[in-house]
Amino acid sequence: MFIAATIAIIIAMVLALMRALLGPTIYDRVLAVNLFGTKALLLIAVMGFLTDRPEFLDIALVYALINFIATIAIMKFFRFAHLGHPHQGDNLGDL
């Protein structure tokens, strides 16, 4: 059962990578990477169940956190061309 789910997730990951490569704009690539991260999260959780190792779910949780932060940071950089200067007057420092 978990093997079938793993195969389905890997197929979805390959399709997400194809969108990342084909994506004309930056935002398609960021979207594809975010989708790939969610699939990787699922893959880690399913592998944890497949190999009877419950610690994998901690890794999956941390991966979810990192994936979210990375996507937001990438988009902030593309939106403002910098990640926030500490002393600048403009309010571009925050998202």
Partner: protein, 118 residues
């Protein structure tokens, strides 16, 4: 036995929805429609699979971790999609509207060149 069958169905349907969302991201014409397809994976595919795994794990610490993952993704996914849409609009990407589709295909290709400026 019943729990196994139920979790089996949940996990496989979660996998199917995952593949469907990946196909949607690949085939949709525009960044905004792709965003919609990608959010399918974040919500239903993740929810079904984590639900199936919860049934497998029963009342253990593993289920609590799965619930934590679900709650976090429940809050993180719309935030990511919102930030992506905001960045795409600020980046000057125009969504393909209905009236753009009514023109001839030749216009549409020229519109695609304009609409997909990176």
């Amino acid at each position: 036995m019943f729990l196994d069958v139920l979790s089996w169905i949940l996990i496989l349907s979660g996998g199917v929805f995952g593949v469907i969302s990946a196909i949607g991201v690949l085939r949709m014409p525009d960044i905004y429609t792709r965003m919609h397809a990608a959010s399918i994976a974040d919500t239903i595919a993740l929810g079904l699979m984590c639900g199936g795994m919860m049934l497998q794990a029963g009342w253990t610490i593993v289920t609590i971790k799965l619930i934590l993952i679900l709650v976090f993704i429940f809050f993180a996914s719309p935030t990511t999609t919102h930030a992506l849409a905001k960045a795409a609009i600020a980046g000057g990407i125009k969504p393909i509207l209905h009236e753009d589709r009514r023109k001839k295909v030749s216009d549409k290709t020229s519109n695609k060149g304009k609409g997909e400026k990176s």
